[in-house]
């Protein structure tokens, strides 16, 4: 049905802005807030024009206080609203971790369903754009480790729009991480009007039989680039965009491993304890028999994301490092 719609070429921020607009229009319970989201429309302009359109009651600036923003949103949600909070950069979620761990993820459980938190927390994440300290952090593994939340990381404008609308409709708290590199870095045809895409599904963005590349967010582009290079050598790599980390679509992952027998997991957060470790562990637990080589991870190094941008390219995985890993799994 979506396929039959009219489309427009949008980048990721525009697609997200459109999703927020449609959500505000459709459901009067939706409120948008965070630092600079109102008059200014957000530092990346994700909420551009929305305060003018929906008023200060629905789209508002908050004091600069992340724990306050998340806690306030939890209260709004408990009382029956549909809060969509923006944390200016995912690396600034840390002051709110108490609210996230102690309440956001467990309010439904700790009140036996009496109160739930249908809240979305959007945050730009990831590197590749030469930002100051903390701005390039990828804290998805920390968030995925919180019971009771969902974690979604779109990699294209069409997906971002539909997934964000689904996240806002979702009865549980959803972290919606948006790769900064992709905000204006990708453009694509986006269906017009309101539509949702299901959470909890991974998707094969490129078919192949030589090895599977598992990735999400900003790394999808990198893996696709690697696959193009490999294809010139006659090696067809399968690229799987995990898209939702929690709940994780292991079926699609295992099916791909079964097909290719080789797995490379790519993520830009620090390697140890990163989400890719979870993907590798699941494959090892459930799909080991399909494997013809050990699983290889390509990730950031075990160090803070470099605050000196001249060398960030050495930290963030690129196509070359992905191909080295592919080489490793192919020649095992």
């Amino acid at each position: 049905m979506i396929a039959e719609r009219q489309t427009r070429v949008l980048n990721n921020v525009q697609a997200i802005n459109e999703a927020l607009d449609l959500a505000l229009e459709r459901d009067p319970r939706v409120v948008l807030f965070g630092e600079d989201v109102g008059v200014m429309g957000g530092v990346f302009r994700a909420s551009d024009g929305l305060q003018q359109k929906y008023g200060e009651q629905r789209v508002f600036d908050t004091p600069l206080a992340e724990s306050g923003i998340v806690g306030f949103g939890i209260g709004l949600a408990m009382a029956g609203l549909r809060p969509v909070a923006e944390i200016q950069f995912a690396g600034f979620l840390y002051p709110a971790l108490d609210q996230i761990l102690s309440h956001l993820g467990r309010m439904r459980h700790r009140t036996r369903g009496r109160f739930s938190i249908p809240m979305v927390i959007r945050a730009p994440y990831g590197g590749g754009v030469k930002t100051p300290e903390q701005h390039a952090d990828s804290p998805e593994a920390i968030l995925a480790h919180v019971p009771g939340v969902k974690v979604v990381i779109p990699s294209s404008p069409e997906r971002a729009k539909g997934l964000l609308l689904a996240a806002i409709e979702d009865p549980d708290p959803v972290f919606f991480l948006e790769a900064i590199k992709l905000y204006r870095g990708v453009k694509a045809e986006v269906p017009e009007g309101y539509y949702t895409l299901p959470l909890g599904r991974a998707r094969v963005v490129r078919e192949g039989d030589a090895a599977s590349l598992f990735c999400y967010g900003g790394m999808v582009e990198v893996c696709q680039k690697a696959a193009e290079v490999a294809a010139r050598e006659g090696v067809e790599l399968e690229v799987v965009d995990l898209e939702t980390l929690v709940p994780l679509d292991t079926e699609t992952i295992f099916a791909s491993v079964q097909k290719t027998g080789r797995a490379v997991v790519v993520y830009e957060a620090m390697r140890t304890g990163g989400f890719g470790a979870e993907v590798a562990a699941r494959i090892a637990e459930e799909a080991l028999d399909y494997l013809q080589a050990p699983i290889v991870r390509v990730a950031g190094w075990d160090a803070p994301y470099p605050p000196f941008s001249a060398v960030e390219n050495y930290y963030r995985p690129d196509a070359r490092r992905v191909l080295e890993a592919v080489q490793k799994v192919l020649t095992h």
Binding site: A77, M78, R112
Partner: protein
């Protein structure tokens, strides 16, 4: 800052009381009910029929006085672990409170007509949430208010300040009640902060701050009533500091002799909120020992019936661990659920 007080240390009215005779009697009964619960809960705990329990003895008036101003199906209460008295007065059934302190999930949720969130264990986290709940009332066009309690120690946490700031910036209909009981486990208030009065902090947020004798039910009730009225009128939050004392230990597993003197506790016992209220009623000719005996009997009957009800609650099942994590069970929870069901 002046301390609002209506009763002297013995309970004699210092001035005309702002409450009707019915209200005075209602208030006294609520105090006694809270005390009865607390005493009996400690007994249950010693019998091994309750988990760790945080008693509130000495702080009844500070909690009951606020809860008496709220309507459970309209207003909101976000209590910390010490506020069983507030919860009880607000409308939480005794059986649920017992189950809650048994760490039985059957006691974790409030009934649908009681807008109370399960007791918060991490300190101060409920303050920004309460600001959100309060603000939502205005967005939803309701005149409901939210009330939240915190201890003196809890005011050192960042969330206390973030929550108050949010409430004040958004003009949220919120009551933040600090029960200043002098101690945060073993740490005295003067090691917690350099300010003399926590209520002074209200000035930093541009909202009213009031200091009230937390062992004087009449004073707490009247101060809270005014704050609720202001909030309902859309005039924003109020910070109330109730000066009180927990005569009881911090929790049922605490030994206060390690950090405070018996003399201090005894001194506060001389200002017991229930004794003062009873003396007030006796002074006004509204109460008798016969009524007292009748009340005790009724409270004991109510409590025993609640224990019986709680005892009948089904033991939680192992698979409940993974229930209510998401609105709909996700694959990982489902797998765990199936496993746990197979185990038993």
């Amino acid at each position: 800052m002046d301390t609002v007080q209506y009763l002297d240390d013995q309970g004699k009215p210092l001035q005309d009381l702002p409450l009707s005779q019915e209200e005075l009697l209602l208030g006294y009964r609520a105090l006694r009910r809270a005390r009865h619960f607390d005493e009996r809960a400690l007994v249950l705990q010693r019998q091994g029929r309750l988990g760790v329990y945080p008693p509130f003895r000495g702080q009844e008036a500070a909690q009951v006085g606020v809860a008496l101003c709220l309507q459970a199906d309209h207003d909101w209460l976000l209590p910390s672990y010490r506020e069983s008295a507030a919860a009880l007065t607000f409308g939480m059934p005794i059986s649920r409170l017992i189950l809650s302190w048994r760490a039985d999930p059957a006691g974790w949720g409030a009934p649908p007509n009681v807008n109370m969130v399960q007791f918060y264990i991490p300190i101060a986290t409920q303050i920004p949430q309460a600001a959100g709940v309060a603000h939502a009332q205005r967005l939803l066009g309701k005149d409901a208010v939210a009330a939240v309690f915190i201890g003196d120690g809890g005011t050192s946490e960042g969330d206390f300040h973030e929550g108050l700031n949010f409430a004040s910036v958004f003009g949220a209909p919120l009551l933040v009640v600090v029960q200043n009981n002098g101690w945060a486990i073993s740490v005295p208030t003067h090691k917690q902060m350099k300010v003399k009065r926590i209520a002074q902090r209200a000035q930093g947020y541009g909202i009213p701050g009031v200091v009230v004798d937390g062992n004087d039910l009449v004073a707490v009730w009247s101060v809270a009533r005014e704050a609720v009225a202001r909030a309902r009128r859309g005039e924003g939050p109020t910070l109330i500091e109730a000066l009180t004392y927990r005569v009881a230990p911090h929790t049922s597993s605490d030994d206060p002799s390690r950090y405070r003197t018996e003399e201090e506790t005894a001194r506060w016992q001389q200002r017991d909120p229930i004794m003062r209220m009873k003396n007030c009623l006796l002074h006004l000719g509204l109460w008798s020992e016969a009524q007292e005996a009748e009340l005790t009997e009724a409270l004991e009957g109510e409590f025993l019936a609640a224990v019986e009800e709680a005892d009948q609650a089904q033991e939680p099942k192992p698979w409940e661990i993974v229930e209510q994590v998401y609105a709909e069970m996700q694959p990982d929870q489902k797998a765990a659920w199936n496993y746990l069901r197979g185990e038993v």
